[in-house]
Symmetry: C2
Subunit: 144 residues, 2 copies
DNA sequence: ATAGCTGCAAACTATTTGCAATCCC
DNA sequence: GGGATTGCAAATAGTTTGCAGCTAT
């Protein structure tokens, strides 16, 4: 699955317009960074990347923007292992490989042959994902 | 699966002794609270429950104790949706039902017919769990 | 007796918020 | 022009840490 960043950004701009939200450089920059990353950066990481190109953004704006993006359905907040919240511009269903040492999260495609029921123990089910915990290659090296 | 709290506490006391750790009332109280709860309380929640019975404990001690318990393998830190870290004294493999509104986490037993490989994309796999996201009964009521 | 624990308070990290200035439509 | 958005700094929430005194072994 190759992401068409340009097309996604257009879709985002359209959605903002239709919602009466302004298209600000900050907003576009945040979404662009998230679209271009394969991992699931923290807000701080997004901020650091944006600062290189647009030194004017503030961390508070990045926090506000990821929340807006989440409300609009363009990114999702991924359940996290520790530390800070992480965001993901891949909104399709997929599974996660999570490092128990550093918290890094990687998307993976897997067929688990399981379908979520609409309701479970009184919960209204929205989505699900398999979380696989382990030690990532980088942290395995550090262990020696 | 009915938990034998008394037996678990004994096992805990033995393990502490064998590790040269002291059996303090604070330690026992924290583990006892976690053993007796079906949900996955935050550190603050554990602290509040303990305070009722043992008003002398401090929040910092509860933080330190859950970490010790985790190191010993008596509880685990569960991946969380937002806010604070949550702990679980159920160390057997099981799945999670997570409320996207309030972050509450409930254990569930499910057969997903899937076995984790030992290695996946370079990660050394330790365990896995299915995370099912939805809105819990309490939050569904609040929505009206 | 003494190493390990604890309580307290202060430090730190992550996130949110109030408000005046600024920017898109 | 005018409301939405931003930057800044201050506030808040969650967690960790230093240290002096206490306690289980």
């Amino acid at each position: 699955m190759v992401k068409d960043v340009r097309r996604e950004l257009e879709r985002f701009v359209d959605k903002c317009k239709s919602m009466g939200l302004k298209i600000t450089p900050q907003r576009v920059a945040v979404y662009e960074v998230l679209l271009n990353r394969e991992d699931h950066p923290t807000v701080e990481e997004v901020y650091n990347e944006i600062k290189k190109r647009y030194p004017f953004v503030s961390l508070a704006t990045v926090y506000r923007t990821v929340e807006t993006l989440e409300d609009l359905g363009f990114v999702k907040r991924v359940a996290y292992w520790g530390g800070s919240v992480r965001y993901d511009a891949n909104v399709e269903d997929h599974h996660h490989l999570i490092c128990t040492k550093c918290g890094a999260i990687k998307d993976i495609q897997l067929d688990i042959n399981w379908q979520a029921p609409e309701h479970l123990e009184g919960y209204k089910v929205e989505k699900y994902s398999l979380h696989i915990y382990g030690v990532c290659p980088a942290c395995q090296k550090k262990e020696n």
